[in-house]
């Protein structure tokens, strides 16, 4: 069974070069809907578990190829359409929303800093629930403090900042003007880190965290709209 796998959307211009092949080494195709370009491939579906890692890397390479040249709206790897017509219908329906977000994000990339508990070097005292909760509260306060320090340190570089708490730490997403990635790294890497925390800086990534809700989850958005009528 084959399906249409969508990689990313971008404002299509003559100067943008496209990757030749994508997931499963099949050709990458361009679908245009006005100024919106969508890259897609016809792939065997579902992707076999033993091919998932390679497929993920191939998917990443396609998105990265375009992202290196311009702003993109990435689809998630497991986003598939029944056929080319379904993708065309999606493109026509969402073209204006996609182009609005692409215009808003055209000069920016997403940089990230994740703060997470450092591997414990000494035996943890979890003899009581109270001790556990106290340690957790301290770690949370430290993470929050560091997140604020990151905000302050990159204030001159950031267009927007979002912070999300996850199971494995605090993720700080920063919208930075393209070309200022190394300034971000420098500003964040020199910040003193609270004890028992580690950091991981990454980027540039497509600004997926800063997409509007209607672009991020178009079906859910349209269901909400339909439900409101």
């Amino acid at each position: 069974m084959s399906r249409v796998l969508a990689y990313c959307g971008f404002r299509h211009g003559a100067q943008i070069t496209l990757p030749a092949v994508g997931v499963g080494a099949v050709p990458v195709q361009l679908m245009s809907s006005g100024e919106l370009g969508l890259l897609w491939s016809e792939v065997e579906w579902p992707i076999a578990p033993d091919k998932m890692q390679r497929s993920a890397l191939e998917f990443h390479q396609v998105v990265r190829h375009v992202f290196n040249q311009t702003a993109v709206i990435p689809f998630r790897l497991l986003s598939v359409f029944e056929d080319q017509q379904a993708l065309a219908a999606f493109a026509a329906e969402n073209q204006a929303r996609f182009l609005r977000d692409l215009e808003r994000l055209k000069s920016f990339v997403q940089m990230e800093c994740v703060v997470y508990p450092a591997p414990a070097t000494e035996r943890q005292d979890f003899s009581s629930g109270k001790a556990y909760l106290e340690k957790k509260a301290v770690a949370m306060r430290s993470s929050e403090g560091f997140a604020q320090a990151v905000r302050d340190a990159v204030a001159h570089l950031s267009h927007e900042v979002r912070v999300r708490e996850g199971k494995n730490g605090t993720r700080i997403f920063v919208l930075v003007e393209r070309g200022h990635e190394s300034d971000f790294r420098q500003a964040v890497s020199v910040l003193p880190l609270p004890q028992h925390l580690s950091r991981r800086i990454s980027g540039p990534w497509p600004a997926a965290e800063f997409l509007s809700d209607e672009v991020k989850a178009p079906q859910i958005a349209s269901q909400k709209i339909a439900g409101a009528k």
Partner: protein, 84 residues
């Protein structure tokens, strides 16, 4: 420690070429990429169960990804602790 179980959370995303060889410290670069390609961006379709690095990642209804690679990392760490 087996291949694909080495967790070191200090790497940048890398180009495809440098993560083709899995295992060792490159593994987290791969996980970073997996996290983004699976968890960041437009959501169209869900309801799938797949397996990465021996860990099942479960995706359930309404096109919302409920379990992420972040959880997979947790699971790997728990498995490592159990082994020790």
């Amino acid at each position: 420690m087996g291949r694909g179980r080495h967790i070191r959370l200090s790497l940048m995303p890398t180009d495809f070429e440098s993560v083709e060889v899995l295992g060792g410290e490159e593994e987290v670069s791969l996980l970073e990429i997996l996290d983004h390609v699976l968890n960041a961006g437009v959501v169209i379709h869900g309801s799938l169960v797949i397996s990465l690095a021996g860990v099942d990642l479960v995706y359930l209804g309404l096109n919302v990804v409920l379990t992420s690679v972040e959880t997979a990392l947790s699971n790997l760490q728990i498995q490592e602790k159990r082994k020790k």
